[in-house]
């Protein structure tokens, strides 16, 4: 028995040393991906798409290793970045910053260490750090939502707005939305923060409903909020009075649009799959060497009943 153990130990040691030799021979390119943890629906979709992209890239390019880490806050993310550089020794970084300002310098450090940097969604506060920038279009999301509401209501009506978590993303969307309504007779009755959260969306909408006897349209800005709003409107039995415009492209809402639900006639995309776009672009840089540097702004596509099936991913958690 003892002898067997000895042999086993020797075999293990041998295979280990062989493995390390193998790794030395074929140096892998490491791509570190740092994203916010799945603390709300959209971020959940983000994590899911990052995981899918990781599998896809590692299967397609055997010499690329993708490491995905998620953080619960800006400070934690800054620590993650340090670890990716010093412990994992990455060659490229794909980062979706929790917040722009606090992460600008940490990402700059990564760049200074000579890594290829791809920034996703939230731009850094200093120009010229990133090699690739991939983002959705927040102002466009606000604008197309506003334009749709304006058109549907023939420039006249009363609407309420449910905002997200107070951040630049939210401000950019709301500012563009308000600007798009200028010159019309559409009255914004009030705007309140519903924090991109279903429960808050439900409660804020309940209060809007008891406060305003007449509402023609609701801009929920986000699909999680929209789901809460839908329940509140149903409960108040006022479904015939108004319609709701969400945003992001959550499968539940896309499904409703596809089924021709009168309450949710459209949805505006802000796809969490953008992380996959960024990861694929970065992988392409190392796999083929083609130039990928530049800025990629994904459009805020309007999803209608006609095109909804192109944006419906029943397997995604979001």
């Amino acid at each position: 028995m003892k002898r067997f153990a000895k042999y086993l130990g020797a075999a293990c040691a041998l295979s280990l040393s062989l493995a390390s030799v193998g790794a030395m021979a074929q140096e892998k390119v490491k791509i570190g991906v740092s994203i916010p943890a799945a603390t709300h629906g959209w971020a959940g979709g983000l994590n899911w798409h990052a995981e899918q992209a990781e599998k896809r890239i590692e299967a397609t390019y055997p010499n690329i290793d993708v490491i995905v880490v998620s953080a619960n806050g800006a400070t934690e993310q800054a620590n993650d970045l340090e670890d990716l550089v010093s412990v994992q020794n990455i060659d490229a970084l794909v980062v979706l910053p929790f917040e722009s300002d606090p992460l600008t310098v940490p990402v700059q450090q990564v760049k200074k260490a000579g890594k290829f940097v791809t920034v996703v969604d939230r731009g850094l506060s200093l120009p010229g750090i990133e090699d690739v920038y991939v983002a959705g279009n927040n102002p466009q999301l606000g604008r197309v939502s506003g334009e749709y509401i304006r058109e549907r209501l023939n420039d006249e009506g009363k609407i309420v707005v449910l905002r997200g978590i107070p951040t630049t993303v939210d401000t950019e969307r709301v500012d563009a939305f308000v600007a798009s309504l200028e010159g019309s007779n559409i009255e914004v009755l009030d705007m309140k923060h519903a924090n991109w959260n279903r429960d808050d969306g439900y409660e804020v909408m309940q209060d809007f409903l008891s406060r305003f006897p007449e509402i023609d349209a609701v801009w929920a800005q986000d699909d999680d909020i929209a789901l809460g709003v839908i329940e509140a409107v149903k409960q108040a039995d006022r479904t015939d009075e108004m319609f709701i415009v969400g945003g992001a492209g959550m499968k539940d809402i896309i499904k409703r649009v596809m089924d021709g639900d009168k309450l949710t006639p459209i949805d505006v995309l802000y796809p969490p799959a953008m992380i996959a776009t960024a990861m694929e672009l970065t992988a392409l840089k190392f796999a083929s060497g083609v130039p990928v540097e530049g800025r990629y702004i994904l459009g805020a596509t309007v999803v209608t009943q006609e095109n909804a099936k192109n944006f419906y991913f029943p397997d995604s958690p979001f």
């Binding site: 799945a38 709300h40 971020a43 979709g45 309140k192 409660e203 209060d207 008891s210 406060r211 958690p317």
Partner: protein, 340 residues
């Protein structure tokens, strides 16, 4: 608001016989003040629909806070309730969706979901209680740990996204939240029933007296032949059961659970308990105060939604201010009375 209460306090105090009533009256007066404020801000505040919204919303935090009153009275703390609620909601949804295939989307499926919720709630409470008493670890640390565990479990179950209840079951289950008996929403009735049961248990049974004794002085309680560990564990079990009851009426509301479900509910529940006059260090607890505390917290949010006079960015500040003022008024009275 404050001046009204200040004037009210001494008159009540002099009429010695009402001492006990007065203690309970503090938070109640603050609530009345808040209602007056709400009405002044917007007439829609007093509409039947709005009031029913407030009480129904308060039910979740309120029911959880009734359980927290036991834990805190006995000198403990439970930080895991929000995550626990999210986890139990998630587990209920997964199991009920799974049962549709075999049992169909009927009442049985919903009842099994409810049963699971109760079992999980009691189990989770027992874990918190046993690990902190038998394992001799501070409840703060134990429940901080379980808070992280339950939160991760629900995120894991939902793949980082959202768990949604099957639409056919939703139809069957929906009345538990949206239904009413003679115009009173079911969640409000459940809240009331839980509060009455909690009141009886805390104030009229030996168990309740033991909670007070342990919270006042654990050593003395131990020398008085009270099974301290058993009673403390039971308070966590009660807390778990309350979380499960809250979850049972929460799930049919939006039919979903995600990692953002129940975030910060633990702090809201603890705040409701303290606003209601229970002492954070234990030894004294008041169920009706807790009930009023929960309604107050919900009312503040509601009032802020009914006005656009205050910048949205300052909502948190207003909330914080009202909570501190409410507790200050109540404690201020209490201190003065003691010194006399």
């Amino acid at each position: 608001m404050s001046s009204v209460e200040r004037n009210e306090a001494p008159t009540k105090k002099t009429s010695g016989g009402f001492n006990i009533d007065f203690k309970a009256l503090g938070p109640f007066l603050a609530l009345v003040g808040l209602f007056i404020l709400g009405t002044l801000i917007n007439e829609a505040f007093l509409s039947g629909g709005n009031l029913s919204n407030i009480f129904t919303r308060a039910a979740f935090i309120g029911i959880i806070a009734v359980g927290a009153t036991f834990v805190i009275t006995a000198g403990g703390i439970d930080l895991s309730v929000g995550s626990m609620a999210a986890f139990i909601s998630g587990a209920m949804i997964v199991v009920m969706n799974g049962l549709v295939a075999t049992l169909g989307a009927g009442v049985e499926t919903v009842l099994l979901g409810i049963l699971l919720s109760v079992v999980l709630g009691i189990g989770a409470g027992a874990v918190n209680g046993l690990v902190s008493t038998k394992g001799k670890i501070e409840a703060f640390i134990v429940t901080l740990g379980t808070m992280g565990i339950y939160r991760s479990l629900v995120t894991y179950m939902a793949d980082g996204g959202t768990l949604s209840l099957d639409f056919d079951i939703r139809g069957v289950y929906r009345p538990v939240y949206y239904g009413d008996v003679m115009g009173i929403p079911i969640p409000v009735l459940v809240f009331f029933a839980v509060a009455v049961a909690g009141y009886v248990l805390l104030n009229m049974t030996p168990f309740g007296r033991k909670c007070f004794a342990i919270g006042s002085n654990e050593q003395v309680a131990r020398y008085s032949a009270i099974h301290v560990d058993r009673v403390k564990t039971l308070t966590y079990v009660i807390q778990g059961l309350c979380v499960s009851i809250a979850t049972i009426i929460y799930v049919p509301r939006l039919g979903s659970a995600s990692s953002s479900t129940g975030v910060l509910w633990e702090l809201e529940a603890i705040a409701a308990v303290i606003i209601g006059g229970t002492m954070l260090k234990g030894g004294y607890g008041r169920i009706w105060g807790t009930v009023i505390g929960a309604i107050m917290l919900t009312t503040i949010g509601n009032i802020l939604n009914l006005t656009d006079a205050i910048s949205n960015y300052l909502n948190g500040a207003v909330q914080g201010l009202i909570i501190i003022v409410a507790v200050f008024l109540q404690r201020g009275d209490w201190r003065r009375k003691k010194s006399k």
